[in-house]
């Protein structure tokens, strides 16, 4: 039985006085099994974050519905932990208080304190319980954010480009950490990213999304054994396969931004003599 069900979801922003209504994506259906790690991969503007927000209940679908364990999503709730790209920690609370803040609604004070310590230990931050967010590095903040989301014991963990703003070394460390956490807690994870390698490294399945019209292009199974080696042949083969589809999508986005004569293969518009076209009018 599927755990997270996304059923024919469409998101359309209504048009205003001078703007046309804009459909980000339509007819997206996806079911995620319990304990599965699924990545949503796509170029910017394909609505992958919007889709995640709809699952989180922070945004509403124009059509269709999302359900968790057959219970329809009507708004945000503690059954879905969300990790944002920015850590979104309350600056006036220390690390432990930030995690306890998520637990106050469900647990007694004593339990909340114990759970906060337990989950901060899981992300290796036991030494920083009393630190304030501004004293932490970007990676540490994101780990607090992960601990905070996990401590609520959510049905699903939703991660919205959680490592997008981090440097490469920190990201590699956090990839290991997320794998360790996922194996240990056995949570269902929905992970938004624009990084192909990241998605292959972490997920069981990769949902490749495209733009105009927005929607699912292809779903890839990742049959590789963990821990995965980015330099292995299977890994790079999959990477190439995904890239070949993604490239077309990216080109579409770039054309929209830079004009119709943009070609990603031929060094693009910037270096093309055609870019001077119309200069002398």
């Amino acid at each position: 039985m599927s755990h997270v069900t996304i059923d024919h979801v469409e998101k359309t922003f209504p048009g205003g006085k001078n703007t046309q209504p804009f459909t980000v994506f339509e007819d997206i259906s996806l079911s995620v099994d319990a304990g599965e790690f699924v990545s949503l991969l796509g170029p910017s503007g394909c609505g992958k974050s919007t889709l995640l927000n709809i699952v989180a209940g922070l945004d509403t679908a124009s059509e269709g519905s999302v359900s968790i364990n057959n219970a329809q999503v009507t708004g945000p709730g503690a059954d879905r932990g969300v990790v944002f790209q920015e850590a979104a920690l309350m600056p006036w609370m220390n690390v432990k208080q930030n995690v306890e803040f998520a637990l106050k609604k469900q647990y007694s004070k004593k339990e909340a304190s114990a759970r906060a310590e337990e989950y901060l230990k899981l992300v290796h931050l036991s030494r920083f319980l009393d630190s304030y967010p501004h004293e932490l590095s970007g990676g540490m903040k994101q780990r607090v954010s992960i601990a905070r989301a996990l401590s609520m014991d959510p049905e699903v963990l939703l991660m919205d480009e959680p490592f997008g703003a981090l440097d490469e070394q920190t990201r590699m460390m956090l990839h290991k950490e997320v794998q360790y956490i996922w194996e240990k807690t056995n949570k269902t994870i929905l992970f938004v990213t624009h990084n192909i390698r990241e998605s292959i490294l972490l997920s069981d399945r990769i949902v490749l999304m495209g733009t105009r019209p927005g929607g699912i292009r292809k779903i890839f199974d990742v049959p590789l054994a963990r821990p995965r080696d980015p330099s292995s042949e299977e890994f790079t083969a999959l990477e190439h396969e995904i890239m070949s589809i993604l490239e077309k999508e990216i080109e579409k986005v770039m054309r929209e931004e830079m004009g119709d004569d943009f070609r990603s293969k031929k060094a693009g518009l910037l270096y093309n003599s055609n870019s001077n076209m119309g200069d002398h009018i």
């Binding site: 209940g57 922070l58 945000p76 709730g77 969300v82 600056p91 006036w92 967010p133 004293e135």
Partner: protein
């Protein structure tokens, strides 16, 4: 006729420790500003929260607050004197009016400038409605509250002095009394007291709180 430094210090000593007129006046003024300031924080804070939370209130009361803010509060004194039959009530009214608006505007701004991501994060943890206001918006607005309080104090203190010059009791009245006796030394000694109070409040209250708040909120690098 002209004040001398020595004479001023002498008057300061006599007024504070000998006759006690300055001491009595000082405590009366401090009592007024203290009470007026707290009242302004309360009213301004609540009003600011209301303006920050409710769009309707902001669009209706908001411009009224800006209009009231641009009226120097001492202008209210004639009405207040009639309203409160003279006396301390009128002066307190002017002080509160002077101090409330900067507090309101800063509280409002703090509420409006809360990072949306913090609100979204809190929502995913099951917080809704008024809990979001109390647990996220107001704490996030604390640095602005501090600015508001500082301005409220400054405006209130000025309003108090102006009101006392015309009204009854306190340092302002004593200042006018000293002028009536051509005692310029006493006038200057009172001005010294006014300046010192400002200095003490700044250094021992606002600076200290500000340093603590800013470092905790991660807004200053000097922590």
């Amino acid at each position: 006729m002209f004040p001398s430094p020595l004479g001023s210090v002498q008057q300061l000593y006599i007024g504070l420790f000998d006759t006690g007129i300055l001491r009595v006046a000082l405590f009366e003024s401090l009592e007024r500003i203290g009470f007026g300031f707290l009242l302004a924080l309360l009213i301004g804070g609540l009003l600011g929260v209301l303006l920050g939370v409710s769009k309707l209130a902001d669009e209706t009361l908001g411009s009224l607050v800006i209009a009231l803010q641009s009226v120097p509060s001492i202008v209210w004194l004639p009405i207040a004197l009639i309203l409160f039959q003279g006396g301390g009530g009128a002066i307190l009214f002017v002080v509160v009016l002077g101090a409330t608006w900067p507090m309101t505007m800063n509280m409002r701004m703090g509420m409006k400038n809360v990072q949306p991501i913090l609100m979204r994060a809190a929502k995913t943890m099951g917080y809704t409605g008024s809990e979001l206001v109390w647990r996220v918006m107001i704490p996030a607005a604390i640095p602005n509250v501090l600015t508001g309080a500082r301005l409220a104090w400054a405006f209130g203190w000025r309003a108090l002095m102006a009101a006392e010059l015309i009204g009854r009791g306190g340092l302002g009245r004593t200042l006018m009394d000293a002028r009536d006796f051509y005692n310029m030394d006493l006038v200057v000694s009172i001005m010294i007291i006014i300046a010192v109070i400002g200095l003490l409040v700044e250094y021992f209250i606002f600076s200290k709180i500000e340093r603590r708040v800013l470092s905790r909120w991660g807004l200053s690098t000097a922590s």
